[in-house]
């Protein structure tokens, strides 16, 4: 994880464990913290840590550098800093475990893994089907490449938060 400090703000990038995220907040009680919480429920953190002023989701951020950003109040300096760092923040008012795009995409990735588990098709054919049958910008396995640990973390977090078995991860997500 990396931190970027400016004025009284601290932006925390990266996808550490919940405990690691909490440690950063505890170590910075006087700062206004903006934190990547892609794999967790932002509300849980807002409730516990008043120094947390905003959250964002950069796990699936690609070359377009667009990220979902939620701030408790409009923070022009934060937006300017993200832009300076090369990101294009898309502000949201929705506070949801896994935000909007990561939460949707991990479920698509999970189903693609279940289909692979069931031997429905190869990874390549599943990627191809989703790109050329419904115009997805990437195939599910292209999205999850190198990120499976975090995909599984978010699915488990959703499972724990909701108790809904729809979030049980495929055993092929390791």
């Amino acid at each position: 994880m990396t931190n970027v400090s400016f004025d009284n703000f601290l932006i925390n990038f990266g996808f550490g464990s919940k405990a690691e995220k909490q440690e950063i907040l505890k170590a910075n009680p006087e700062k206004h913290v903006i934190m990547d919480l892609t794999c967790y429920d932002p509300q849980e953190f807002y409730d516990e840590y008043p120094q947390l002023k905003g959250t964002f989701a950069a796990l699936f951020c690609d070359e377009n550098k667009k990220i979902e950003l939620h701030c408790l109040k409009h923070e022009p300096e934060v937006i300017a800093k993200f832009k300076e760092l090369g990101y294009s923040p898309i502000e949201t008012t929705i506070v949801s475990c896994g935000f909007v795009f990561p939460r949707t995409i991990v479920q698509i990735i999970n189903e693609a893994h279940f289909a692979l588990e069931d031997d429905v098709a190869s990874k390549e054919d599943i990627n191809r089907a989703m790109k050329f049958g419904v115009n997805y910008p990437k195939g599910p396995f292209e999205w999850s490449e190198g990120k499976e640990l975090y995909v599984k973390t978010l699915l488990n977090e959703l499972l724990q938060k909701t108790g809904d078995k729809r979030y049980v991860p495929s055993k092929l997500i390791k």
Binding site: V100, E111, I126
Partner: protein, 285 residues
């Protein structure tokens, strides 16, 4: 594999699109439908589409293409076709009855296929003779068939592995992107895509136009999708999407990953089917 003569059965949107695409691959195509008016309309639309492409300079062999497609009554179809693609109404009994007739009518080398999106290939294959079963499979095209690149090549229980692979290679050599898949509910796309709708529905959870717009916007802006899930459900038809969701859910023994959301049922009950009803997740007055 040589595919030079193709029969397309059903002259609706999918059937006529499939017929047009095969003709554009220099195949000789016969398009058949129960309704003479429907066949004539489909042929007129296909010709008109080629004329427009020619006007734009995107097509040069219109006259040749027009010669290579014809509409035909069922009892006058060429018995020596290489491939038959069925694209009729999604009714299992009607399809089975049709395949029984087709099996008896066509020569032994003809491959019979279904463009079904919802029925197991194995169930339809019950209608054909044991001799034909290796040459029976699914070919699931996507709408519009002349533009969407994907064809799911679905291998049924008794489909020949070689025929499926040869067809895969044949489509691959044309301007299609085939995907080989097992005969299982929803095949690839209608299974994996379910959560593109199901998860956003759970994120908004109730009718809230601001949230719905925001979710659509994020998935387009951040995710790079061409349409947001709510816009897309409105376009497809909320009733159609709900029906596919229920069908996949039932087929997987009510597996929670495929469970429909209460909002879908509520909107169907209220006849808010999307664009076609001018009311869906958005209003279209």
């Amino acid at each position: 594999m040589n595919i030079s003569k193709v029969i397309v059965i059903g002259a609706g949107t999918m059937g006529s699109g499939i017929a047009q695409w095969f003709t554009q691959q220099n195949c000789k195509v016969e398009l058949v439908d129960n309704s003479q008016a429907q066949m004539e309309k489909a042929l007129k639309d296909i010709h008109s589409s080629w004329d427009k492409l020619a006007e734009k300079g995107k097509l040069s062999n219109v006259d040749e293409l027009k010669k290579n497609i014809k509409i035909s009554p069922m009892d006058q179809l060429s018995k020596d076709a290489d491939l038959v693609v069925e694209a009729i109404i999604e009714n299992l009994e009607i399809k089975k009855e049709l395949f029984k007739k087709l099996d008896a009518y066509f020569e032994s080398h003809t491959i019979l296929s279904s463009n079904t999106s919802s029925f197991p290939i194995a169930l339809m294959a019950e209608a054909v003779s044991d001799k034909r079963k290796p040459q029976f499979l699914g070919l699931h095209f996507f709408n519009p068939a002349t533009i969407m690149k994907l064809v799911e090549v679905i291998k049924g229980k008794d489909s020949s592995e070689k025929i499926c692979r040869d067809l895969y290679s044949w489509f691959d050599s044309k301007d299609k992107k085939p995907a080989l898949c097992k005969d299982s509910p929803g095949f690839i796309v209608n299974r994996v895509a379910r959560n593109f709708y199901g998860e956003p529905l759970r994120i908004v959870n109730e009718e809230d136009e601001t949230k719905i717009k925001e979710v659509d916007n994020i998935l387009k802006e951040v995710g790079g999708f061409k349409m947001g899930p709510f816009e897309l459900m409105d376009l497809i038809g909320i009733d159609v999407n709900y029906s596919v969701t229920c069908s996949v859910w039932e087929a997987y023994d009510k597996e929670p990953r495929f469970a429909p959301h209460k909002l879908q049922k509520q909107m169907v009950d209220e006849k808010r089917f999307g664009r076609k009803a001018k009311r869906g997740f958005y209003k279209y007055d």
